[in-house]
Symmetry: C2
Subunit: 348 residues, 2 copies
């Protein structure tokens, strides 16, 4: 298949699962009292998102169970020992955790917008946002502790999700800390990205395997698949901000640079002696010209910083795909490989 055809196929797989995940979210997190609290939890869940984490979870389970994609019932999915469990509920639980972190991160980062709409603390208020996050946090554990899987596997999955949450908090704490420092190294930045973002991808791919009773080797491989492709995803985000035309990006190209956001690229450039703070003179993305961004990008190309990030994303993606060798060779596994490719090829 051509690259475009491959991308179409994985996009179709993502889209198809997104619909099912959205339906399941509605079922698993019904409105309740107090209304304002539950409205706020629905608000973030309905604000969109590609549902990449639950999609990775569903595909990992399908590959491991060696069933044709979409042939088995996600609500009564086969385990490896002949039982069944609610795979969809476990997939929803990771998306719910993701939503909780978005709400709390937006409060901490004072971000007013999320997915093009006001963030929860802006649409409601900070109190409601803190509580909506805390409620989703609890709901995720309610869901994951009630999948009908073998209890020993269920408990292990809960433990994995809980330790993943601890790591996410550590990553966010590092991110907050880095804002006040000017000596962050690319290595520290990569560790932060791993904790803040990639571990939840890892947990998403690994949790279904845990629930199905897979060997540790398989669980670990799926976890690493998720962590590595998740890291690649975040690094590529920084590359795309500089290289994808503004109209495709949906925002001004180079806005990270204008806003002074530190990325793997800027940190690498600093190490190469580039005056990163002087790369663009505009103070807001609205003021910057395309030619000014072009010049800045040229400077970052020269220092090898964009290539450095791009190569790292590619290398991590390749490594993540090799992890899938532990799975049976089937269509779902191919889709997982393509999903990893898509994470760094997506033109937004």
């Amino acid at each position: 298949m051509t690259q475009d055809a491959t991308e179409d196929r994985v996009l179709a797989a993502v889209r198809e699962r997104r619909e099912l995940v959205n339906d399941a979210i509605e079922e698993e997190l019904p409105m309740a009292e107090p209304e304002r609290l539950y409205e706020a939890t629905r608000y973030i869940l309905e604000a969109g998102g590609k549902r990449l984490r639950p999609t990775a979870a569903l595909l990992a389970a399908e590959a491991l169970a060696d069933v044709d994609p979409r042939s088995a019932d996600y609500r009564s999915f086969p385990t490896l020992s002949g039982g069944s469990f609610d795979l969809m509920r476990s997939a929803v639980s990771v998306e719910v955790i993701q939503s909780f972190t978005l709400i709390h991160d937006d409060i901490m980062d004072e971000d007013d917008l999320r997915r093009g709409v006001p963030s929860v603390h802006r649409e409601y208020d900070t109190e409601t946002a803190i509580l909506a996050g805390d409620t989703l946090y609890a709901k995720a554990f309610e869901l994951l502790s009630d999948t009908g899987a073998d209890p020993a596997n269920g408990l292990e999955a809960v433990n994995l999700l809980a330790s993943t949450c601890t790591r996410i908090c550590e990553g966010q704490a590092l991110d907050v800390d880095f804002e006040g420092r000017d000596d962050v190294t690319p290595e520290e930045y990569l560790e932060m990205v791993e904790l803040k973002t990639a571990v939840l991808y890892g947990a998403s791919a690994a949790i279904p395997a845990v629930l199905m009773g897979a060997d540790d080797e398989v669980v670990d491989a799926l976890y690493q698949y998720g962590v590595e492709s998740g890291r690649a995803f975040q690094i590529q985000d920084d590359v795309l901000d500089l290289t994808v035309p503004s109209e495709r990006l949906g925002k001004q190209r180079g806005s990270d640079l204008v806003e002074g956001k530190e990325t793997l690229i800027t940190l690498h450039a600093r190490q190469q002696g580039v005056d990163v703070d002087g790369l663009v003179s505009a103070d807001t993305p609205a003021e910057v010209t395309e030619s000014a961004v072009d010049e800045a990008v040229a400077r970052l190309e020269e220092s090898g910083s964009i290539a450095y990030a791009r190569e790292m994303a590619t290398e991590l993606t390749e490594r993540s795909k090799r992890r899938l060798a532990v799975l049976p060779d089937n269509e779902a596994r191919t889709l997982l490989r393509e999903l990893a490719d898509y994470l760094i090829s997506r033109g937004y």
Copy 2:
């Protein structure tokens, strides 16, 4: 025994267990990186507290196992089916949840002090406080999912803790909502108190029983014991604020009234036609005189509001103690009964 002797005995039991719980907290939540984040989690855990919830958990387990108090190893405690589990870890998990709610509540309520020291968001900052709460939240589930109990029981305990957290969030949301309303009924107030505070007492007493493999009847009875004595505790708090001399209270008597805090007593008085807002004219606890408080208390006695709260606390306590009939008749059960009494008799 005289009432004083009984109180001495239960206080000794609480004190003894508090020391052990404090040691276990230190072991289970060691310092880690990033330092500032973990310092903030330690800060709240070390700020004190009577550890009443873990104490209730330990006593409930001892009563149920029918062992002499403090005779069994809390780290390798007998289940009802001949196994063993880490009871202390489960007791710590509820205290850790309690600490997380205190941190987030203080942010929401803009409370600058907690247990006589600056609250976490004042000592550190709001970002760190949100994250410290989120980290403790995760740690509680890490701990509870790793007690070595039978996995089916472990998973049920996790589910109970998670649904309890959901209820706590609902209770806090009601509390925030009530601040903007002037038509809250005593019934609504009681529901809020149950959700915000009492359910965690319920979970504290019930979780060890779940982990030990007790029948649903026993689990439910212990849960109700905790909920009812927890509700009594909160109601009595409001009574004590008006009736215990300032020097014993450690703060100005009647400060709830001065600060316009709505309680079961003020809500009842409003229903009786008392002009609650005009009861004291002082704006801060420092300005109010003892005689002004005396007059306000006399007015609330007249309307039957203090008696109403006091009777409700007593009635709930009696009901909570009757729940313990499902347990073997032993010393730990007696201590649980006395603990319920202590919760409403304590003179601070």
